[in-house]
Each structure stands twice: as structure tokens, then as C-alpha cells.
């Protein structure tokens, strides 16, 4: 092998020859086609090796990227059976992730409307017919809460019982006068009437209606298990979790 020739090639490409040697070399190239062809190959080899090794990272990135674009392109047009046959566990994992995400993002929170089945009011069973109270009762039982509120307000001026307060509170809650409703229920909660636990339950419902699930749960947990509708409390707690 003509070693010197290749050393000169390299020096020339690195621009390390003296002006004199450079001219001499270029003249040789012009006169000797065999030398010129060897030099051309030598030059091209440098480009080729530069690309093969120097650009290896770029090349691998291109290979990977184009492969994944290719897979996306061809996956879309391939029959489904083929797709499923290809690593089915990936799809299982993907499906699980979707389900889990769904549980996190779209976990159906309980609605106020699922738990606001209030008992009917029966104020008038004890004989003496109070006209206003009767109207309030009828309006309440007909779920006409707006009307019920004005009747209750009138009644409460003369008659102030936990029972009336309780139904008045529910009417307020149903018409979205939540703050006022909470005042009423908190008074009942502070008292000792049989409406104590029911009031707490409704305080929880007030939070539920405002989608304040955390407070709702906190309130529910304060209701003692001897509350007559404790089943509902448990059901709502379960749905909140």
C-alpha cells in the first residue's frame, strides 16, 4: 500500500499542507487520473464515515421517529384483528388506565337530588286546624317550597316549634337559601329535640348541594348511629368515598 499517498490525502483534507505542497498535490491530481480517483474515494469515505459514526445519534433518532410514524400510519389501515393480536397486554394496561382515570376524573359524585326525599309534614293531625299551618303543610307536601316558606314565616310568628323550624329549614334548603337553611338547622342541632339528628343530616345535604363533598362527609360522620335514617347516612358516605 502506498502509505504516503493517504497521509498526504489526509493532510490535504485537514488543510495542513504548505502552500507549496498543496499546489504540487493539486497538479498531481490533475495529471494522474488513478490518483484522482483514489482521492475522490478517500474523500467520500470520510463523508460516509462521518455520517455513519458522527451522525449516529441523529440517524437513530430519525430511524425511531420515522418508524413510529410508520407504525401509526399502517396501524390505522390494518385490520383490527391484527392489531389486537399484537401484544394484547398493552391494550389491557391501556384499558385499565382509562378505567382508573375515569374513576378519578369522572367518579360520579352523589347528587343532592338522590338524597332529598323528605318526609311529609303532618302538622294538623292534632286536631285544631291552624289555617296557615295547613297551607304550609300542603305547600310543603306538594313540594311547593317557595309558597311553603312564606306560610312558615307567618306561622313562626305565632308558633315556634322545632318541628315547624325543621320543615321551614328544608323549604329554605330546597329553594337554595342555603345560608338561612343552615342557620335553622344549626339551631336545631344545638337543641335536644328529635329533630337534632335530622337537622345534622340536612346540614350535610346542604353541603352536598353545594358540592362541598369534604364538609358533607365531615358532618355525616358526626351523626350518631342511632339516627333513624342512619342507612341513608351510610349510603351517602359510601358514595362520597
Amino acid at each position: 500500500m502506498n502509505e504516503d499517498r493517504y497521509i498526504v490525502f489526509d493532510h490535504y483534507l485537514q488543510d495542513e499542507l504548505s502552500v507549496e505542497d498543496k499546489v504540487k498535490f493539486e497538479n498531481q491530481l490533475a495529471e494522474d487520473p488513478e490518483l484522482a480517483s483514489a482521492f475522490e474515494i478517500f474523500k467520500e469515505l470520510n463523508l460516509h464515515l462521518e455520517n455513519k459514526f458522527g451522525n449516529a445519534d441523529e440517524f437513530n433518532a430519525f430511524k425511531e421517529n420515522s418508524k413510529s410514524i410508520s407504525n401509526d400510519h399502517f396501524k390505522a389501515s390494518k385490520p383490527k384483528t391484527k392489531v389486537i393480536g399484537f401484544k394484547p397486554w398493552i391494550y389491557l394496561v391501556a384499558a385499565s388506565v382509562v378505567v382508573l382515570l375515569g374513576l378519578f376524573l369522572f367518579n360520579p359524585k352523589p347528587n343532592f337530588e338522590d338524597f332529598n326525599q323528605h318526609e311529609n309534614a303532618y302538622f294538623t293531625e292534632r286536631g285544631a286546624v291552624d289555617e296557615k299551618l295547613k297551607q304550609a303543610e300542603d305547600a310543603f307536601n306538594a313540594k311547593n317550597y317557595k309558597a311553603a316558606i312564606s306560610f312558615f314565616k307567618a306561622v313562626l310568628k305565632e308558633k315556634d316549634t322545632p318541628e315547624i323550624h325543621y320543615f321551614y329549614g328544608i323549604s329554605l334548603l330546597e329553594t337554595n337559601e342555603i345560608q338561612e337553611a343552615e342557620v335553622v338547622f344549626n339551631e336545631l342541632k344545638a337543641g335536644t329535640s328529635i329533630y337534632k339528628n335530622k337537622a345534622i343530616w340536612n346540614l350535610a345535604l346542604a353541603k352536598l348541594k353545594q358540592k362541598d363533598y369534604k364538609s358533607c362527609k365531615e358532618i355525616l360522620l358526626t351523626i350518631s348511629s342511632d339516627y333513624e335514617d342512619y342507612e341513608q347516612v351510610q349510603e351517602l358516605l359510601k358514595e362520597l368515598d
Binding site: M1, N2, E3, R5, Y6, I7, F9, D10, S37, A38, E40, I41, F42, E44, L45, N46, L47, H48, L49, E50, N51, K52, F53, G54, N55, A56, E58, F59, A61, F62, K63, N65, S66, K67, I69, S70, H73, F74, S77, K78
Partner: protein, 194 residues
């Protein structure tokens, strides 16, 4: 030749060279379906079409990187012809002749023919270079690899624990060895590689 002005479709070549995903996707969208149809109509299936397309894209990437590939014809015709000829060669190989098709384009003289010829010559050259590289001894292979991976020949010398002068000389001689083998092959094949 009529003219060598760069065709506007050069954007696809540049897109490949820059690993531009949007461009690659648009190549798949616009030009690949035709190739798939052709291969399916010529005893191939979609998987084979996918491989052919990928091989051609890699070839174009390399050619763009090494030779600054300049497109002088529409990408569509050029790309389709490359894929088509690659596929026909695969079929030919499969029919165990082991000889690649070398049809000439003399008859139709489309502007894309010259581009395709260039690209196929590049591929052939690249394959020859790679094959010769594998014939080199381990030391030459390692030194050349490091020469083009590391930033300077000083670093190569340090890495190999030899002198700078030695790695410079050795690099010239290893590349010289490759040059000599390729020249001999060219003479033998009487193929003009450069």
C-alpha cells in the same frame, strides 16, 4: 439535461434530513398509499410495503446527510419509482437469483429517472463502503469509529493511550486501506463508483 433547478418538493428531502415529524407524516399521507397499493398488487402485503417505504426513507435521509441530496424532479414520481424498484428487487431476490434488477431508464427518460439513478448509486456505494469497513481489522475499525465520534484526534489518542501522531497516521492508513479495496472492487466490477 434540461435543467437542474431544485424542485419545490425539496421540502420533503429537507424535512427528512431534519427529522421533521410533520413532514414525515405528510410523506406518509400523500405518497405512501400509492406505494402500498402498488406492492399489494404485485404479490406483496402491507407489512412488506411498510418495510420498503422505511428502507427508502432511511436511504433518503442518509443521502441528504452525506451528499446534500438536491431534488430536481417531483418527490411523488421519484419516491414511487424508488419504492417500486426496491420492491421489484426484493421479488427478484426472493426468486433466488440473488441478482438485483438493473433495468435502465433509457426508454422513458423521465426527469425522475436521473434522480433515482443517483440515489440507487448512492445506496450501492454505501453498501460497498459498509462491507469494506467490516473487512478492516478491529483496531482500524475502533480507531475510525472514535475518530468520527470524538471531537478531536487528541481525544482519540488519549482514549486509546497512544500518541497523537500515531492516531493521525493510523487514521490515514485505515481510510487508505478502504480506498484501495474500493478501487480494486471498482476495477473488478468495472463500475464507476464516483
Amino acid at each position: 439535461m434540461a435543467n437542474n433547478a431544485i424542485h419545490p418538493d425539496q421540502i420533503y428531502i429537507d424535512g427528512l434530513a431534519n427529522n421533521n415529524s410533520a413532514m414525515i407524516q405528510s410523506i406518509y399521507k400523500k405518497f405512501v398509499p400509492k406505494v402500498v397499493t402498488y406492492i399489494r398488487n404485485n404479490s406483496g402485503d402491507e407489512d412488506q410495503a411498510q418495510d420498503v417505504v422505511q428502507e427508502i426513507l432511511i436511504l433518503l435521509f442518509n443521502q441528504a446527510k452525506v451528499n446534500k441530496l438536491q431534488l430536481t424532479c417531483p418527490f411523488d414520481a421519484y419516491f414511487f419509482l424508488l419504492c417500486k424498484r426496491k420492491w421489484l428487487n426484493e421479488l427478484k431476490k426472493a426468486s433466488n437469483k440473488g441478482v438485483t434488477i438493473r433495468e435502465d431508464f433509457a426508454s422513458n427518460n423521465e426527469p425522475s429517472d436521473e434522480m433515482v439513478t443517483q440515489t440507487e448509486a448512492f445506496e450501492e456505494k454505501q453498501q460497498l463502503f459498509d462491507a469494506m469497513f467490516k473487512k478492516l481489522g478491529d483496531k482500524c475499525q475502533e480507531l475510525l469509529k472514535l475518530s468520527f465520534t470524538l471531537k478531536s484526534m487528541e481525544e482519540v489518542a488519549e482514549k486509546l493511550q497512544v500518541t497523537y501522531g500515531y492516531v493521525r497516521k493510523k487514521k490515514s492508513l485505515c481510510t487508505g486501506q478502504l480506498t484501495q479495496w474500493i478501487q480494486e472492487t471498482n476495477r473488478f466490477k468495472s463500475l464507476k463508483i464516483t
